[in-house]
């Protein structure tokens, strides 16, 4: 029996530019658009791709830390702003740290499965450039357990993943892992340079690998990672529509412009427990396995991959968690070029969190949007040639240090 009792489709994806350090138009000292701008641009960008926007039944608004970055709560309250017909329609907000967007995708699918909606618009957004990174670090630290904050690093999450990198150096060899991380950075920037909306689109560094290998400076940052190993501080919005068969019809969307949701795996670890093994993403692996199992698929069926690379080390560990590389072999897999856009399994083809940017609460939505674009042939300069033997796209969205996970599989419609 199929995991889903009725088909669900995803369509009409839209990502805004990821604005922040790196973009030429980013001027730190000048006023910038707020969350409303990104919600409207992304939401309306999605609606512009359907004939009947009023056919949207519900909204899911995904965001992580607007309460602090923007002094604003009540995520759903922004849904009606997107289209006049949305006023008084139901909306839900999701928050699960960096997986807020991933949760939004799952909630949309569950809502459709519950037969209470045929078409759900998911809008992810985050505006982080309102404060300097040194203060934003504390907001983002909320993705971990608050009781760990005091003993944590000034840059809390970079500190957490620096520890993971350190544990991997020790277990698998520093040189190999370090180089794998630098190769991940190279790939992220190369892909971002094909994506005009990516924060690193304008990156013109000539020797990316040497940059990626910059020795860490623990006096001002972390012990085992440098700033190039990190995703960006970003402002962006991303939107995607989920619909039932009936929903697609009501929206006026042809099937060729949609992809099928095949399965998903959702997993939660205990935020108050120390991570069992810093060299593994255990919860991410469980979520991905669940998604594979429910779909009756394995890595060989996947033609395009989107993983959560908040840090380059997370990118390497994700290759293991998704079953493409064996334990301890993520670095070798990446260094061998297997994740490049023309490699064995094209991964994060639009730049990922390091290349496109990491508008935290939108990242999960952004990953799904980019998979939908790839599977419908709308990825422009980032487009890969999909092999008919592997018509699936897999994503893993992660919140915190392997705490809140959604992994979802989409299928190209033949």
């Amino acid at each position: 029996m199929s995991f889903l009792r009725k088909p669900i489709y995803a369509t009409a994806g839209y990502n805004t530019v990821s604005l922040g350090q790196g973009r030429k138009e980013f001027k730190p000292k000048e006023p910038r658009p707020g969350i409303e701008h990104y919600i409207k641009e992304a939401g309306r960008g999605a609606l512009a791709q359907v004939k009947n926007p009023e056919a949207i039944d519900e909204g899911v608004m995904t965001n992580f830390m607007m309460a602090r970055y923007n002094r604003q709560g009540n995520r759903p309250g922004f849904f009606p702003m997107i289209h006049p017909s949305f006023r008084y329609k139901p909306a839900t907000g999701t928050e699960g740290a960096c997986d807020s967007g991933g949760l939004g995708l799952a909630v949309a699918c569950k809502t459709i499965l519950a037969d209470v909606a045929d078409a759900v618009l998911v809008v992810g957004f985050e505006v982080q450039t309102t404060v300097k990174a040194v203060y934003g670090a504390d907001y983002l630290a909320g993705a971990g357990w608050y009781k760990d904050r005091k003993k944590g690093h000034a840059h809390f999450f970079p500190g957490q993943f620096s520890d993971r990198a350190g544990a991997c150096f020790e277990k698998f060899g520093k040189e190999k892992v370090r180089e794998g991380m630098a190769h991940w950075y190279v790939q992220a920037i190369e892909n971002a340079r094909r994506n005009p909306k990516a924060q690193e689109y304008h990156n013109s560094i000539s020797d990316l690998f040497a940059t990626g290998m910059t020795p860490p400076n623990p006096k001002v940052f972390c012990e085992h990672i440098n700033v190039y190993d990190c995703s960006k501080v970003s402002d962006a919005g991303c939107a995607l529509i989920f619909a039932s068969e009936e929903g697609l019809k009501k929206l006026g969307v042809e099937k060729k412009d949609a992809v099928e949701v095949v399965s998903w795996g959702q997993c939660e670890d205990d935020i108050t427990n120390p991570q069992p093994d810093l060299t593994k993403l255990v919860a991410s692996q469980k979520a991905a396995s669940l998604a594979y199992e429910r779909a009756g698929l394995s890595p060989k069926d996947i033609g395009v991959l989107e993983v959560h690379d908040c840090f380059s080390i997370a990118g390497l560990l994700m290759m293991e968690a998704t079953g493409f590389a064996g334990y301890g072999e993520g670095a070798d897999f990446v260094s061998a070029g297997k994740t490049k856009i023309d490699g064995e399994i094209p991964t994060n083809t639009t730049g990922g969190l390091i290349g496109y940017g990491h508008p935290v609460g939108a990242s999960g939505v952004r990953q799904a949007v980019d998979l939908v674009h790839q599977l419908t042939g709308k990825a422009s300069d980032c487009q890969i040639a999909m092999d008919s033997a592997s018509p699936y796209g897999l994503m893993v969205s992660m919140g915190g240090s392997d705490i809140t996970i959604v992994s979802m599989i989409f299928k190209k419609i033949e």
């Binding site: 300097k132 040194v134 203060y135 670090a137 504390d138 630290a141 904050r149 005091k150 690093h153 000034a154 623990p218 006096k219 001002v220 940052f221």
Partner: protein, 439 residues
């Protein structure tokens, strides 16, 4: 008495000025760190300035600067406040550090506040008579254990020592503007100095993470010794160029040559404006007096001062008009002292100057360029092959600048070429030293 003990009570004189306030920020932070370690001790930093009004604005400036430094030092500060369980987030730690730093500070206009200070930073106007008077008064107030670090940029330190009767308790400690950012401190050790003071000065430099470059006690030292002669060369070139290009045109040409063609952070006239034309003049006066060199003067500088066109900076750091007129700190006009008015920049002059070689890279790009020596070498080689007014003026200027540097060593102002280059690269932010192989 070691440096830690001397740090228990420190005074900064001229604390509201641009140098004094920067020094005050640096010292206040060191004292806050000591206070954290030695909770039972009382630390006091007296910020003394003649202007009540300027002192009023000082705390706002200092707070902004201390926050900036604290943000950059957050990794260290989290360790420093590790045992304070109530301070969890970075902002709480930064605020605590700001509060702790401010708690050591007292502001006022009376020199008597300095009476218990064992370490005094003097950063008042570069005026011999005033410096001597203030140092004498402080000596009477403080007693014979107190050491003086004077932020003097041109007056011989031995002379100040003798005139103020300090018995070798003074050293030249010349910070560069702004002291918080600039790594360089030019250290001038007069022959009369007490050994303990020179040791303390060395240790202080390490603690403030400054690059100390020794200069001999000759008026102007290395920094101003080079700067004044470099400026005078440009002023003399103007005399030569003004008949063909007008006075304002000549100023524009030499400013552009020094900034773009010589790849410096700012043109020579913008730099003189930044320092202040009156300050430039007072340095020349000091050097004339102590070196007996009457060529250290220029009639155009005198005219500018007579016409009260002085440059310098406003308290908020913005640039006042001088040789150049500024809008948002960018030059938009040139002062014509003969016409007594600003005239707009004549962009046609750029055609006369000629284009920069294709391999030119601006100063800012070279700052972070790992192969800048190679790039500069290629650039100056191309410049030599260019037959334009710009190339010709630039190459002569480059040669003169080198000669000025070499003469500083020849005349015993600097101990080595390396020290001269270090002052210009660290204090003036040049991307290459004046004594180089590019000429």
């Amino acid at each position: 008495m070691n440096l830690d003990e001397r740090f228990e009570n420190v005074s900064v004189i001229g604390a509201a000025g641009k140098m004094g306030s920067g020094i005050a920020v640096l010292i206040a932070q060191e004292m806050a760190k000591l206070k954290k370690k030695n909770k039972d001790k009382i630390y006091r930093l007296n910020l003394i300035d003649i202007s009540e009004q300027a002192l009023d604005g000082l705390s706002g400036y200092m707070k902004a600067q201390i926050i900036r430094v604290a943000e950059k030092s957050i990794v260290f500060l989290r360790e420093m406040y590790e045992e304070r369980k109530d301070l969890v987030e970075n902002i709480e730690i930064i605020n605590a550090f700001v509060d702790d730093t401010f708690s050591v500070i007292r502001c006022g206009t009376e020199l008597g506040m300095a009476k218990n200070s064992k370490l005094i930073f003097e950063a008042i106007a570069e005026n011999e008579d005033i410096k001597i008077k203030v140092l004498k008064s402080l000596d009477e107030v403080c007693g014979k254990e107190t050491f003086f670090l004077t932020n003097t940029s041109s007056i011989p330190i031995g002379f100040l020592d003798q005139e103020a009767g300090l018995d070798g308790r003074i050293i030249g400690y010349h910070f560069y503007n702004p002291p918080i950012v600039q790594k360089l401190v030019e250290v001038i050790t007069p022959t009369t100095i007490q050994k303990e003071l020179s040791d303390i000065a060395l240790e202080l430099g390490k603690r403030l993470r400054k690059k100390l470059v020794p200069a001999n006690d000759v008026a102007g030292f290395i920094g101003n010794g080079h700067f004044t002669r470099d400026g005078l060369y440009a002023l003399n070139e103007i005399e030569r160029l003004k008949d063909n290009y007008s006075l304002a045109g000549a100023i524009y040409i030499m400013n552009r040559i020094s900034q773009d063609f010589l790849v410096r952070p700012m043109g020579i006239f913008q730099l003189i404006d930044y320092v202040g034309i009156d300050v430039f003049d007072s340095i020349l006066k000091v050097m004339r007096k102590h070196l007996g060199d009457e060529t250290l003067r220029h009639s155009l500088v005198n005219s500018m001062i007579e016409q009260k066109v002085l440059g310098g900076q406003r308290p908020d750091g913005s640039q006042k008009d001088g040789f150049l007129k500024y809008e948002k700190n960018r030059p938009v006009g040139i002062y014509d002292a003969e016409k007594k008015e600003y005239v707009p920049i004549n962009k046609d002059l750029d055609t006369k100057i000629g284009a920069l070689p294709d391999n030119f890279k601006p100063w800012k790009a070279l700052l972070t360029e790992p192969t800048k020596e190679e790039k500069l070498s290629d650039y100056f080689a191309s410049l030599k092959g260019t037959k334009t007014l710009g190339a010709e003026l630039a190459l002569s200027y480059l040669a003169e600048t080198k000669k000025i540097g070499e003469d500083l060593v020849k005349e015993g102002v600097a101990n080595s070429y390396e020290d001269v280059n270090s002052v210009l690269t660290n204090g003036f932010y040049w991307v290459y030293g004046p004594i180089n192989e590019y000429v």
